[in-house]
Symmetry: C2
Subunit: 163 residues, 2 copies
């Protein structure tokens, strides 16, 4: 879901406080990037943000986007994903709840789900010499659409695979 007005105000405040705390400047680019990220429903990469801002006739260089996503990761307003494709994906993370991802290894489709049993099992885990901050669970497999396609191909060429 796109973020509500009150969420957008809260995250601006969090980012502004973070910048103050580290003696960093509150530039318009920074808030434009943050705002755009929180208007995105699912996952995105740097290229996507870059283009979305361009469409608004707002030019921010990629170097600046990379730079600022780093800050947003640091203050936990964004999380980072590497699902296995070529680009690093990101996702807003304030008030979004812990969720897991399923990834189709054929078509790259990513879907989210939540599960209290899994959540509880992970949170109950005590790790020696380690302070847990977050976690990501990726479940890989094949979505039904790809599975059906595979079966259709197999049916078409029955001799293709030996044994």
């Amino acid at each position: 879901m796109e973020s509500s007005e009150s969420t957008k105000n809260t995250i601006k405040k969090i980012f502004a406080d973070y910048l103050d705390k580290h003696a960093m400047r509150k530039t318009p680019e920074r808030f434009a990037i943050l705002d755009k990220i929180y208007s995105i429903k699912g996952h995105f990469d740097v290229e996507t943000i870059y283009n979305m801002l361009l469409e608004d006739n707002y030019h921010v260089s990629k170097a600046t986007i990379y730079n600022n996503i780093g800050l947003l990761l640091d203050c936990k307003l964004v999380t980072r994903h590497q699902f296995g494709g070529n680009t690093t994906q990101y996702e807003k993370s304030y008030n979004t709840g812990i969720h897991n991802h399923i990834i189709c290894t054929k078509c790259g489709m990513v879907r989210e789900f939540t599960d209290t049993n899994i959540k509880r099992a992970i949170q109950n885990k005590h790790l020696r010499d380690f302070t847990i901050e977050s976690y990501t669970l990726y479940i890989y497999g094949i979505c039904d659409k790809c599975k059906q396609q595979e079966e259709a191909i197999m049916a078409e060429k029955p001799g293709k695979e030996k044994k």
Copy 2:
């Protein structure tokens, strides 16, 4: 643990069968790469395998390593990881058991652990329209070593962080 002789024979057989099935050739490079991978205890990247083979005076190009790791992923003898660093990491996966990873976000340290509650919770999960093949759970946080360093720095410069 390094792989036993019987494991090494089994994986060679699995790979050979896979190559037969797909009408691919059983080149010495392929088995040298597989063998080297199964001599590695933990995670590795392409560069590492390349150098390890070189140390044995066995030259295999990186293109060939990339190419063949792809095949090994396909026949499930190797799994792929993207922990958040710059390179893709790999790991042998025959007979290694399902295990999870904890990653220190400061120093990049990766450690493994197993947990039956987590395993059970994930395996009991039913996903609509999706066939599960595997999963990865990465727990991020700070290892005690880095935590102590951070605290030491904070104690040294008490005024650095405002508020």
